[in-house]
Symmetry: C2
Subunit: 245 residues, 2 copies
Amino acid sequence: MIQSLQHLPNTERRGMLRQLPPPVLTRLLDLCSGTRDIPARRVMSRAGDRLHESLMLLEGIVLRHVSVSDGRRQMVAMQVPFDFVDLHSLPLGYLDHDVESLTPVKIAVFPHDALRKGVRTDPEVAMLLWRLTLIDAAIHRQWSFRLGGLRALPGMANFLCEIDYRLRLAGCGGDESFALPLTQNDLGDVCGLSAIHVNRVLRELREARLCSLRDGIASLHDRGRLRDIGEFEHGYLYDSMPGED
Amino acid sequence: MIQSLQHLPNTERRGMLRQLPPPVLTRLLDLCSGTRDIPARRVMSRAGDRLHESLMLLEGIVLRHVSVSDGRRQMVAMQVPFDFVDLHSLPLGYLDHDVESLTPVKIAVFPHDALRKGVRTDPEVAMLLWRLTLIDAAIHRQWSFRLGGLRALPGMANFLCEIDYRLRLAGCGGDESFALPLTQNDLGDVCGLSAIHVNRVLRELREARLCSLRDGIASLHDRGRLRDIGEFEHGYLYDSMPGED
DNA sequence: CGTGAGCTTGAGACAGGTCAAGGGTGGTGG
DNA sequence: CCACCACCCTTGACCTGTCTCAAGCTCACG
């Protein structure tokens, strides 16, 4: 599985991996010890756990969230295929949030020992891993922007644009629609809204023929307007998609 | 200035630098090309600018924000002394947000060429720099938590606790009060509130004898209760302060 | 001594939360 | 097989936190 990734031609490589020159990619993938499958809605690690491996997502979606006192959770990140999920646990040792699979998930396992050795002996791999975590941080900033700077509807539009863009980078998006099995409750945790208000916002988006979200399938009918409304600019993802400006 | 930092005894070292073993600190500071002074309220760099050096804050406070369509700005980070301000521009090349001095500021300049050489030849320095940016990312997550998960008053309490904690780590906090020359407008941009509502929240905090903010001086009268209300836990800063659990 | 930036307060509007009720669907156990 | 339950979606009515608008205050600075 992992080995097959190295041999994809450049244009076929996916997600964050698209950024890597092939030799570096090979050296990175050599540090992987194997793959693992995890069912949906499984807590993969908890805030404060000492971790000794980092995981790269190969299939499925992973959520990262912190819990709020009233029982709600605030989502702080969402990982799509070819994202590292918890690479930051390597320098940090433990995480400040929980990690949970949304769907059934396939992951590639990178033991910290191997990664540490890779970082020590291969500056290019080190720089690459660093860069990946920095894009993660840029996404965090965009989430702050969305939560603090946008109203409910633009915020939802912004989120859908981001996920659409990232899933298509990862090769998981269709032309119009993609799988997004988040409940309205989950979306509330993402956007800082009550589930009921999420429902109202989705209805508005649907009635404006902008996008719809049904049975775990998101369909974006008018990406242009959705991006305008959500003030979405993909620059913060530090990766331009072929065929878009 | 920079050189003098290396010779501080361990217990005297400040802010993020406290985490470094002295030899690594020395090697890092060797990469600094000099210092620079910048007046208050000066835009230091804009989103999208190509940067060729990174800055470590030595004195003063720096803000990082993105602009919203309606003219507001959303603050995405705030740097205190001994934080790197834009270290992430080294692997990323450009930033996705603006950087602005809040107060007059003294910075140490690290040319990217020097940093790149340091990273390539010194894995310990590389790991350290990586770690610093990861703590930045953890702070971003806390800001998402605050903006999406907390109401106005707890959010403000949370922010004040964070800044208090970080300023004291940096050796810039008194027992009860510290300098925080943010206007209520700025605080609104931090917490995703209108300036007017910031005013009301501050009044509530003052009348509850929790804290007050006047003439650019913040005074925390009851840190314990403030932390409870703001659901503040310092674990995400990955640095325990001597004398606090 | 005027002017502007920031702070303060009140009144009214509106976005979003809360409560309550009902419907659909899939899973489980009798 | 059906009954029941859990979970999710949907909608309506009402409540409240926050925004907006408007006015007046203070203080630093020209």
